[in-house]
Symmetry: C2
Subunit: 122 residues, 2 copies
DNA sequence: ATACTTGTATTAAGTTAATAATACAAGGAG
DNA sequence: CTCCTTGTATTATTAACTTAATACAAGTAT
């Protein structure tokens, strides 16, 4: 899964979000070393400053730790990781229900749509 | 349901999206008259120019028709309305599944989360 | 010790979006 | 006809974000 940058909002926030998703999905496992700022920036096609900002936020969240010259690693704190993971999932679900409600659908209808959804249907 | 403006992306796009949601939800029914640009702008707390841009897009979509001096009305074309409504719902569902997949969940898990979700759980 | 890697900070410039303040166009109401 | 409402267009200014180009700080390896 590559980087997905759109013009919807500050790029550093999108990067921050996608970094969390990668950690949640196990792309960067607990305790593992992250690529360097410059590598990540090149990979995502953004300025190092922008990636840095995203990483600084990740650190503020307590999700990664910075070892001055040895790069960054994902936290060893499983509880913090689990909490983030739950929060992201909860946000997805809540966003879905809110969105459907805005379109005039009931909670029940929203559930049914998901149940009957065929993958790869476009 | 009030206006929900965030710093995530161009405001006029957010307004455009939310206007579609309102039409879908029946806040502005088929053939009904919309508030004036200036009213909508005041209501949403944005500049009239910004609201105008959102409405111009709505018209380009064929969802509203403009009567030069008599304001704007929602289209009478039920087919166009239904198509938009379906598209918005499809986008919601697709976005949900994509998001959960990014977090490392399977399709099946995503379905189960929705089924067991309790409303008002925060 | 010296060079290299890595994170961090700074400053300037360029781009885009939003706002503000008007002005114009066109139809309806009195 | 004249005024009012409504949509539309223009121009300038402001603010935010991103990029660019460096420079610095602090460990590690040779």
């Amino acid at each position: 899964m590559g980087w997905n940058i759109s013009d919807s909002g500050p790029i550093w926030m999108q990067l921050h979000q996608q970094l969390m998703q990668r950690i949640s999905a196990g792309v960067y496992p607990k305790g593992s070393k992250l690529p360097t700022v410059r590598e990540l920036a090149a990979e995502a096609g953004v300025n190092p400053n922008t990636m840095q900002r995203a990483l600084a936020q990740l650190e503020a969240d307590g999700l990664v730790v910075t070892n001055r010259t040895a790069g960054r690693t994902v936290t060893e704190d499983g509880e913090v990781l689990a909490r983030m993971c739950r929060r992201l999932a909860r946000d997805q679900i809540q966003t879905y229900f809110d969105g459907m409600k805005r379109l005039g659908f009931t909670h029940q209808q929203a559930v049914e749509f998901v149940q009957t959804w065929k993958e790869e249907e476009r």
